[in-house]
């Protein structure tokens, strides 16, 4: 008898679902929608929001640094950067990847959430080859894909923003809501700025970005050991005027980790030399 009722119940449910016109279907939809709304209430920052945070951060960084307006050089770093980004796990971001140069001899690079990447003239000139430049950019792309900048936004700030954003279909914000959201947005930009520009990422985040960078370089066909070479050179050159040395873990700690990862990766020397030639040509024409 129990079996009979069980089979009857299954058939009843199936009938309800397949006709799509009963109350049960409605209830199931309601449950589904409620579940979706619940998940949105604690959702992470979306790609679109990440893009707007990245734009604001870039706009703020540009109050401290000037852009180096050199079309040939900007074109070149974009070509190198895109050749790597397309091999990352996120070749598409909402606004895409954009690489640009900052006119300062400070050695540094900044990855704004969403895809804008700055590299300073000092950092570029520290690179000895296209593969080393690719290594710098790969490391920054890894920070974006790891969402290291975005994750520095205080969770309490984002939770508060979500209470204003709400979960229902979009509506126009009231002026009070906009004012509050702008204040939270400003706070979020402060959080990211402090991490990326002032204090630097955690040691673990840097190691993880190095590991990913090696993977991107390998996939793209660049020499992954170029990251080891670059960090070694940077260590030899030392730090003058702050920059990357102040915000990154010690070179020896990074090198130790990288040596283990890149030790057995084969390198195609002939194509590396071709890239070295075009790197030298661009640098010679534009800066030196």
């Amino acid at each position: 008898m129990k079996r009979f009722f069980l089979i009857f119940f299954i058939l009843f449910c199936y009938g309800c679902l397949s006709t799509g016109s009963t109350d049960l279907t409605g209830h199931l939809k309601t449950i589904k929608t409620a579940t979706e709304e619940l998940s949105k209430a604690s959702r992470p920052i979306s790609d679109v929001e990440e893009y707007y945070v990245g734009r604001a951060l870039a706009a703020r960084i540009l109050t401290n640094y000037k852009v180096l307006n050199n079309a040939l050089l900007i074109d070149y770093i974009n070509l190198v950067g895109l050749s790597i980004a397309m091999h990352s796990e996120r070749p598409n971001t909402y606004g895409g990847y954009h690489f640009t140069l900052l006119d300062t001899m400070e050695k540094n690079a900044f990855a704004c959430p969403g895809g804008i990447i700055f590299i300073t003239k000092g950092m570029l000139l520290s690179a000895k080859s296209e593969d080393e430049l690719a290594a710098i950019l790969a490391h920054e792309i890894a920070h974006i894909n790891n969402k290291d900048g975005i994750s520095s936004i205080k969770s309490a700030r984002w939770t508060e923003a979500l209470t204003i954003i709400g979960t229902q279909v979009a509506r126009t914000y009231t002026s009070a809501e906009i004012s509050k959201l702008v204040s939270l947005f400003e706070g979020a930009i402060d959080d990211v700025f402090k991490t990326i520009v002032v204090n630097g990422y955690s040691q673990q985040q840097e190691f993880s970005a190095d590991e990913k960078a090696v993977n991107y370089l390998k996939k793209a066909g660049y020499n992954p050991k170029a990251l080891v070479d670059f960090i070694t050179n940077l260590n030899v050159q030392g730090s003058s005027g702050g920059g990357i040395m102040n915000t990154h873990p010690s070179s020896s700690a990074r090198l130790e980790k990288l040596m283990e990862t890149t030790f057995q990766i084969p390198v195609d020397i002939s194509s590396m030399n071709n890239r070295l030639e075009r790197f030298k040509a661009v640098i010679k024409k534009t800066i030196q």
């Binding site: 079996r3 089979i7 199936y14 979706e36 734009r55 804008i116 702008v182 996939k219």
Partner: protein
Amino acid sequence: MTWLVIIVIFFIFLTPMDSFADSMMVITKGNALRERCRFYSPIKSTLNYGDILDINSTEGDWYKAKFKGVSGCIHKSALEAKSVSSFEGISRQGQGVSQQEVALAGKGFNPEVEKAFRAKNPNLKYNIVDAIERYNVDEKRVFEFIRMGGLTQP
């Protein structure tokens, strides 16, 4: 008991799936359906944020999809499964339909917030950021750059 399990499984397979289960939304500003599942393969159709595609199959990290009658490939990172079915009045194929969905996705830190933020912080160099974003390298040049450098095509 065995026959009962068989019946249950039979009915589960017969039950119609969510009619939108194989639809996904474009989550990048601009994108394209490509002839083959490779970057820099010829573009068959351009796409915009919010366009809803019908997914036919997968090939590695790529989806084979259809939009407005055109079939092609798009990388998985450009798409996101959206609960389109939970929004009444939304149809497919990008006929202005995803506006509600797009609006929802555009909530939070969005152009409206940026506009107010910019007004409050006029010293920020948004004009330069706009110029940086406007700078685009032609796909064919990236393809050629990769080839000339002995690199791997993505």
